[in-house]
């Protein structure tokens, strides 16, 4: 019984604050991850040579760099270069870099799956390349990339716990402090695990609804 009391009176209130920080980290990182990911993907497929090289280097670097290492560089390394970031900002930046690199791969694949003729048709109507990309290519590519982007979002939920390593007291960090203080590792981490699980579950359901909402008859199924 006192385990329940511990969970209700001490653990959950402590985790609540951490959860809010976790949600803030995710909310701040995910939109920019998709946005920059889309930009990088477009740059890789349609950009000039230099833009293509830059985009490839960006993806190669951030895919290759362990996220924890990236966070360490951003938080512990940059001050010696005169740039001091708050732990929260450093975490969000690291997540954006990592997230956007992977997102760009999903979006790039989706762009390449769209029939070339639609680009040509857009140009033939007098659209600029930019207009074709914005109005024809990306709306379709993003739809097709949804499963991949959701996958990446789920990863983000989980790797947001790495922010704890640079002193951000998010969900995992908040739990770790309670667990150490009350020596309740099993209860604490079990509850935290359930919280992450529910975040992922909500995401999955939300993604499913989104996918249904933006579905285009005959398109999402990859008929073409």
């Amino acid at each position: 019984m006192d385990q329940l009391a511990f969970i209700a009176d001490i653990l959950l209130p402590a985790l609540w604050g951490g959860l809010l920080v976790t949600l803030q980290l995710i909310a701040a990182a995910a939109p920019f991850g998709v946005l920059i990911g889309a930009g990088i993907a477009v740059g890789r497929v349609y950009g000039s040579r230099p833009v293509q090289y830059f985009s490839r280097a960006y993806v190669a670097f951030f895919k290759g760099c362990p996220l924890l290492l990236l966070l360490f560089i951003l938080y512990f390394g940059l001050p010696s270069a005169g740039i001091s970031l708050s732990p929260f900002t450093a975490s969000v930046l690291g997540f954006i870099f990592c997230n956007s690199a992977y997102d760009s791969e999903y979006i790039r694949g989706a762009i390449k799956s769209i029939r070339e003729g639609q680009f040509t048709a857009g140009l033939a109507l007098g659209m600029t390349r930019g207009q074709v990309i914005r109005n024809v290519i990306l709306p379709q590519a993003l739809r097709r990339a949804i499963p991949g982007l959701v996958n990446e979002f789920v990863y983000l939920i989980k790797y947001s716990s790495l922010a704890y390593m640079i002193t951000v007291i998010e969900l995992t960090g908040a739990g770790k402090m309670v667990a150490t203080r009350y020596f309740t590792y099993n209860e604490t981490f079990l509850v935290i695990g359930l919280v992450y699980l529910s975040l992922v579950t909500v995401t999955t359901i939300g993604a499913h609804l989104l996918e249904r909402r933006v579905a285009v008859p005959g398109m999402a199924s990859g008929r073409h």
């Binding site: 029939r115 003729g117 048709a121 857009g122 140009l123 033939a124 709306p139 008859p217 005959g218």
Partner: protein
Amino acid sequence: MTTDDTILRVEGLAKSFGTTEVLKEISFTVRKGETKAFIGPSGTGKSTLLRCINQLIVPDRGRVYLHGEEVTHAGAKINQYRAKIGMVFQNFNLFDHLTALRNVEIALLKVKGMKEGEAREKALFELRRVGLEDRADHYPAQLSGGQAQRVSIARALAMDPDVMLFDEPTSALDPELTGEVLEVIRELAQNGMTMLIVTHEMRFALSIADEICFMEHGTILERGPPADLRDSPAFERTRQFAGRFAEL
């Protein structure tokens, strides 16, 4: 330097892909309201020719003039010229994520800068013209091939082009669906639309074109009004080709 009713002038258009000369110095003019049909075996540069006219393919040499203004080397202005040159593709190339109505509307909004209501009205008008007003809310995947091609014609017409380019508009269609598309094109010809049509439909070409150009190996082998060319050797060869084509 152009006669008053010349809409399109093509001078010495040449294009090679690698070592293959696809177009060899093609020249012709198109008068207002004229329908010119290009026929000939596959791989003779007919589609390339159309794409060089609106610069979807940049020719190696030669010039294209629309109303006396040079389209080639137009730089950023090329989009303005393309907006005046309608194009219909073999594979329709409708935008898969947009309804028929939105397909027709989108360039009106983005290229012509029309307001939503105005663009909608114009798009509905064009869909009505090709007999598909009742399919306005259908997505491309929900349309038959013939309907999709008619939507793509409406999409091009909505821009009020000075000239329409048809690139084998019925080649991807089942035989029973070609009729409805040809009918729409025939009606355009009768209403005075200026058109260049690349087609394998010999009888259709003979019946609507003012001039027929036989192409082979990147050149226009012979050209003239359908009546004059019925018995020409080039026509005979093309017909043999088309005959084989039809048997396939």
